[in-house]
């Protein structure tokens, strides 16, 4: 028997005398364990090192088309819709609960939603094959992986008239999936800085050449919140240090970003609700924020506190700012294993409808990239306060040189990022 080179410890079983009683006991135990063996065995046999994946990762500067596979065709046109129920696999709390009965009525089938709390969990469920859903909501940065792993199927645009009619050209033909071969856009957002004018006016965040630096302003120590999301935080520190593309940050740059975050050990707190809940309740004066969280924050204000003090800035677009900043979008896709692909296409098109996406936005706060949902319209209709106009994305934002889109990190790079995150969060 040959051992695998990775093996560097041979097992050394202790010798002992087995009595008949031992034998019976072990046999009984084996009877319990044995049924699990085929799956264990199957798992062991799968070990062959696969080829490092050839992923088509796009950026606004160099868009990519996702590959098609012979064994993963799109559905034919003009097929009749299948029987329900239609099964959605979505982020927790990431669709207006009122949309589901409405869509259900419009499509004439029952719609059920299963949720996941992070994308890792979703990928695990999809790769194990245990998840049997029809529609999934991947982030744009995962599209390449989802295509290569054949989790999702190509779309037949005949079922999606709203895609061409309503969606911003930048995302109807997006950099991560040219021609929308596999996905349609769901919502879009930037990552920036939210703050309370009454608590942090003197920081003059809007007037800075490097707005990210406000998190290091000692005046606000203890009132600073950052997203408990390590890629966002490390990217923030890299931007603050003047790095323009965190995806290719060197080890030294990562180390410097980690150093900068260690400086904040006593002044920053990391939580996922720093912006939408933390700012309204004054737990923070300045918060690292996703733009959609600021729109949502309107629901979290205590009675009698003036909501007009909230502000948002995306440093990549701020006047006089020289630093870069993240922009992103989430998508909808039809899973390859879907048993109701026609219905799934119809659901996608339903969500791309202008009225329906407005209804969804009213609850979600994250913005669908719809042509007619302009900042003027949304503010005029009082979907958000005028002060929060910077929290809305406009199509041209994707064209800015300072806009950065996050790609997936390979294991080696992610280990380096995670190392800095551990330094930053250990608090020395």
């Amino acid at each position: 028997m040959t051992y695998h080179p990775r093996e560097n410890r041979s097992p050394t079983p202790r010798r002992r005398v087995y009595t008949r009683r031992d034998f019976v006991q072990r046999a009984a135990l084996l009877g319990i364990v044995l049924p699990a063996f085929p799956s264990l065995l199957a798992a062991c046999l799968q070990r062959e090192d696969g080829d490092a994946a050839d992923l088509a990762i796009g950026t606004p500067a160099s868009p990519v088309q996702q590959p098609l596979f012979d064994d993963n065709p799109a559905i034919e046109s003009d097929l009749p819709p299948e029987e329900g129920p239609l099964l959605l696999y979505n982020w927790e709390d990431y669709i207006n609960p009122e949309i589901i009965p409405l869509a259900s009525e419009a499509l004439g089938v029952e719609i059920r939603e299963t949720t996941f709390t992070n994308e890792e969990q979703a990928l695990a469920a999809l790769s194990s094959g245990e998840a049997q859903y029809d529609v999934w909501f991947p982030t744009s940065q995962r599209v390449a992986v989802a295509v290569a792993a054949q989790f999702i199927q190509p779309l037949n645009h005949d079922y999606l008239p709203n895609l061409g009619a309503n969606i911003w050209p930048q995302l109807a033909d997006p950099y991560y999936d040219q021609g929308s071969r596999y996905t349609v856009p769901y919502v879009t957002y930037t990552t920036g800085i939210g703050w309370r004018m009454d608590l942090a006016e003197s920081a003059d965040i809007e007037g800075q050449a490097n707005p990210w630096d406000v998190f290091w302003n000692p005046k606000y120590a203890g009132q600073i919140g950052m997203l408990d999301s390590f890629t966002d935080v490390i990217a923030l520190a890299l931007f603050r240090n003047g790095v323009t593309d965190p995806s290719v940050a060197t080890e030294a740059e990562l180390e410097a970003a980690g150093d900068a975050l260690v400086e904040l050990s006593d002044s920053v707190r990391y939580n996922i609700d720093v912006a939408y809940d933390g700012l309204p309740n004054a737990r923070y004066s300045i918060a690292h924020a996703w733009s959609g969280d600021l729109v949502n924050s309107a629901y979290y204000w205590p009675d009698g506190v003036d909501q007009g003090t909230i502000r948002y800035l995306w440093p990549a677009k701020a006047e006089g700012s020289t630093v870069h900043g993240p922009i992103s979008s989430d998508t909808m896709a039809v899973l390859k294993g879907s048993e109701r692909p026609v219905l799934a296409h119809m659901f996608l098109d339903y969500m791309l409808n202008a009225d329906n996406s407005l209804t969804n936005f009213g609850y979600l706060g994250y913005q669908p990239p719809q042509n007619n949902l302009t900042p003027d319209f949304l503010i005029g209709e009082e979907y958000l306060a005028e002060e929060l106009a910077p929290a809305l994305v406009v199509p041209e934002d994707f064209d800015l040189d300072t806009a950065w889109v996050q790609g997936p990190l390979d294991a080696e790079t992610e280990a380096l990022w995670a190392e800095q995150w551990t330094r930053a969060t250990s608090g020395g």
């Binding site: 798992a43 006593d266 707190r269 390979d410 250990s426």
Partner: protein, 310 residues
């Protein structure tokens, strides 16, 4: 051969009976295997496994022959002298401080309810149990509201004591996190201790007094030794979940200076794509440490019951 027959029959009944009685262990054994051993093995398989080249996710390695201990070694090295060591040490300090406070606060309460509360005992027990009716997370969130800068606690401080510049409770205050742990877990400490104190026979205390012991001596030489196992049991019950707690520091602080080991494990397992093995390795180390505490407890209990038998 009548003698042989007789002894054979006897053996059969005994054997049969033994199998019947040990059969009662079967549900427990199945439970342990399915819900403890298999998952525990899976954690090892992830900690020593590989990474899927396409998804960049950890792939559990079920065959121990192919286990790769690199990550495990790195985690151990970092625990003894690295950043993880700082977090581990802080976790131990937090948990032991919170447990000591639980003992200081909980013992008098349990003692009072079991021995002094008289006919109002049921009411006291009810009051101690009441927090169980509300989910732990909800109770912590309530504290977030109470302790927020314009929350009720600060308002009371201002109206009652004129304190207009109160400390910022939620801005990464270790005392608040330890307080949260005490508040959250103390009922779990009081209940087993109450049961232990309640079991003490009044006659032993009366005997001590009859033999001339003062009330303090009676407590120190009779009540305390007899309740020690209840104290240990209560401490084990609260310390084990405290070591894995991550939502208390998350909700009440979120600052780097109050992060516990549970936060770090959560971070590696839930936030990263490829670093799950680090989280799994940390989980194993934590389990081994906690098992050490558990063994100490079991040994103490064992010794005590042997002494009692003597």
């Amino acid at each position: 051969m009548p003698t042989n027959l007789a002894s054979g029959a006897e053996y059969d009944t005994v054997g049969q009976r033994r199998w019947v009685w040990s059969g009662f262990a079967l549900p427990g054994v199945i439970w342990l295997v399915l819900l403890f051993l298999v998952p525990f093995y899976a954690i090892f398989a992830v900690a020593m496994g590989q990474i899927d080249p396409l998804l960049q996710r950890p792939v559990p390695e079920w065959n121990p022959l192919y286990w790769d201990p690199t990550v495990f070694g790195e985690v151990l090295a970092d625990l003894f002298g690295g950043q993880l060591g700082v977090i581990a040490l802080r976790t131990i300090v937090f948990v032991f401080t919170a447990s000591a406070l639980c003992l200081l606060i909980g013992y008098p309460v349990a003692y009072f309810v079991s021995r002094k509360a008289g006919r109002w005992r049921w009411l006291w027990l009810l009051l101690i149990l009441a927090p169980f009716w509300i989910n732990y997370l909800m109770r912590m969130m309530a504290w977030v509201n109470l302790l927020s800068p314009d929350g009720q606690v600060n308002r009371w401080l201002e109206t009652l004591f004129g304190i207009t510049d109160p400390p910022s409770w939620l801005a990464g205050n270790p005392i608040v996190v330890v307080f949260g742990l005490v508040y959250g877990y103390i009922p779990f400490f009081i209940l087993p201790l109450f049961a232990a104190l309640d079991r003490i026979d009044d006659a032993t205390l009366e005997a001590a007094r009859d033999l001339g012991a003062s009330s303090f001596q009676t407590f120190w030489r009779v009540t305390w030794p007899l309740s020690r196992n209840g104290v240990l049991g209560g401490l084990v019950i609260i310390m084990l979940p405290m070591f894995g707690d991550y939502y208390t520091p998350n909700l009440l602080s979120g600052a780097p200076s109050t992060r516990m080991l549970g936060n770090t494990i959560d971070q590696f397992i839930n936030q990263t794509t490829s670093q799950g093995a680090v989280g799994a390795a940390l989980t194993i180390v934590l389990m081994i440490f906690v098992a050490g505490l558990m063994f100490y407890y079991l040994r103490a209990i064992n010794r005590a019951s042997e002494e009692a038998r003597r």
